[in-house]
Symmetry: C4
Subunit: 241 residues, 4 copies
């Protein structure tokens, strides 16, 4: 921790992370104290995260815990989320992400419990996630009994090895639940909400047609590239505003 | 574009289309910026449509983009919905419609992803849609890589060729989601809400009885004609009001 | 119509029926103008029913239409619900009922579309409905093309012939949806809400265990009689209040 | 009843139990008068419970009925819940519990009707319930026709015999619905809400993968012990607050 620590920037991040946590509750992705959102200040290598076990309705910005990338508490009167080491692993390995979310949202968790990745069945999916949303393999007994939360992060990174984490901003951890990430905390929550809806649509899709195969690759590419990359033409980028 | 352009009429249509878009959000058929509603002023061949990628809570009537039937922006500071060419194709081919809606509503999208039309299983369905709500075939790679959004409109029109678009005011685009239409923007939204409920009922119906076949034709006719056509006797038409 | 017509009583019934219709909307059993509730003034043989095709948010007590048991409008500026003849048939045949409800509620309609009665799978069911909630056979083409709505009532009565309509206060009409009844309009709505929840639980039950058979008869009897009949001991009847 | 009766303590418990009952309604686990919550004052062997058949919106603290462990009414103008003898049996046998809840919540009841325990499919489950949430065997005809509600409590206790009731704070009664318990009334409601969500996730899990087997034992242990027991490290226990 030799970097300079900008108090104003950290306060702004605490507000942003607090609001993102509240948005998780507003979108009904969490019950009680379940789930957590974090954000990172890359220039200072500081991560701001929800305190462990505190109900959403009691969260205030100053309760958000500030930790460094090794998990040491830099400031805060609360224990950080017990899932903090998973978040930190993702920040260390996914260089351009600014926010991480973990939930036990109902449909995404059901796919994680079924130990199945979510196939890309339509354009709603490929508007946000390029191809399958993978499911990690199970952790080994050694990984579980060792540094469990960090190993959860490691198995995520390992599973993403051959994928572009910008194009697949989320994953299912087997028998556990979803993690998503994004350019900031708010965007990571957005991806969590979308992932939950995709999980719901996919569960319904296979209930209607058990023999369904995924979307054509050419349509998947079309929709993904309509919203992402240099030739994107969705939205108001570069418009007359 | 030699037709006269009546500003008052266009403003009224912008208000109507804005309100119809908000109704889509109120009925929970859309998440974030998903979905779009348009309306047409037939006497001027002007279409009013939601701007692309703007969240529903920020929409105001003056943000609704005005385009001609070729898709040229006539007035507006925003890009129109990226799905505009699909809407325009429907207005060109379905001469009497006044509004078009596209959503990714959960159950209708699941049927579209399952690549199955929704069979007519009951009178709730035949009160609004005469017979099956069809699902288009997949677009070809050439159609996808070409003028994609316009080709989406073309495959809808092609699939509807042997059907009466007034009696079947909606369709599923394979791997994508539903489009509906109606006599105006509000009516098209109404049909979207009904289609989503029919998709939900149908998914449940086949989960309860996998061998179910559709409704008797005579009952389908009875309910459709009870509400539509010159012998309709549902509602308050011609009553003492 | 030789009976005396008590204006105060009829007004009170219009208020009760209006409120019961609004309760149907509040409990989310209906979309738009779907569904209808009626009540009867037995001493005058007058039935009060929702006007046809009017949205719930616009209903007021004075809009409730007053008809006699033959369906003649006694008072009212609106057409009565197109399902009025079905209601009247039930009032004529089920001597002690005071209210009737028809909806297209999602889960009950799915069972009706699947053409299956809802088996009694648990005590929630037998607290309200003794044994299966039956599904009618399909109407014949002659019944459909004839006096359709009255014939719907007739097939309900025929299906209930060997059952006690007080112990089974509701039914599914094949390919259509549920009808319920009760001692008054409010109670009939209560039974509609319960029927919908039973339909939902039953759909889930068979999805969890496809080989499930119903509840033991002795347990069904126990729960039904715990709440109904002269030895009932549920609730506050005869307590110290 | 030779124990001293502390009026202030009983009043406080009536308030707590009333609030816990209202929370059950707020969390949408109950319809109309269904379900009930109780709490116990161990030092006086007094149980406070919801009155039978009273709608939630009318409940006030002073309506909560006070009974002794034999079910005699000590104070109150209402009949206690008809399920009171089931609650009392649990208080007598599970020495450290302070609250009991019974509901007919949709998904948990569906599993009870399917006569299946809920397998532990993931960490959401093992965060709260160690291993399967069991389903009781059916009661015998003698048990049903005898002291039915007490026998319901007895079959719960019998089914829990080889389990730790602190580690499995809830159960499904076959063909009936869930019972949960906890250190107080509020905690028992919390466990009811969680059980319902676990039942929903499990129903979805088996619909996605019918061949799924449960979670690894080592992961189940890890999550359970992360939140429970002397080495727990979830939450704010022992933190700097």
């Amino acid at each position: 921790m030799t970097k300079v620590f900008d108090e104003t920037e950290v306060k702004r991040l605490q507000e942003e992370v607090c609001e993102a946590n509240l948005e998780l509750a507003a979108k009904k992705l969490v019950l009680y104290t379940w789930g957590n959102v974090s954000g990172i200040l890359r220039e200072a290598n500081l991560v701001v995260i929800k305190p462990s076990g505190v109900p959403y309705e009691k969260l205030t910005p100053s309760m958000m815990v500030i930790v460094d990338l090794e998990g040491n508490i830099v400031e805060g009167n609360y224990n950080p989320s017990s899932d903090t080491p998973s978040h930190l692993e993702l920040y260390r390995e996914f260089a351009t992400i600014g926010g991480v979310v973990h939930t036990h949202s109902t449909y995404a968790t059901a796919w994680a419990q079924a130990k199945r990745g979510i196939p890309c069945y339509g354009t709603t999916h490929s508007d946000y996630f390029y191809n399958e949303i993978p499911c990690t393999p199970e952790l080994t007994p050694e990984e579980i009994n060792g540094d469990y939360e960090r190993n959860t992060g490691i198995v995520i990174v390992r599973t993403m090895r051959d994928r572009d984490y910008n194009a697949v901003p989320g994953i299912l951890v087997a028998n556990h639940g979803p993690f998503t990430w994004g350019k900031d905390a708010d965007n990571a929550v957005h991806n969590s909400v979308v992932l939950e809806e995709l999980a719901r649509m996919a569960q319904l899709t296979i209930s209607i047609n058990q023999d369904i195969t995924g979307i054509q690759k050419v349509l998947m590419d079309k929709h993904y590239l309509r919203k992402h990359g240099k030739n994107a033409y969705y939205g108001q980028n570069g418009n007359k505003e």
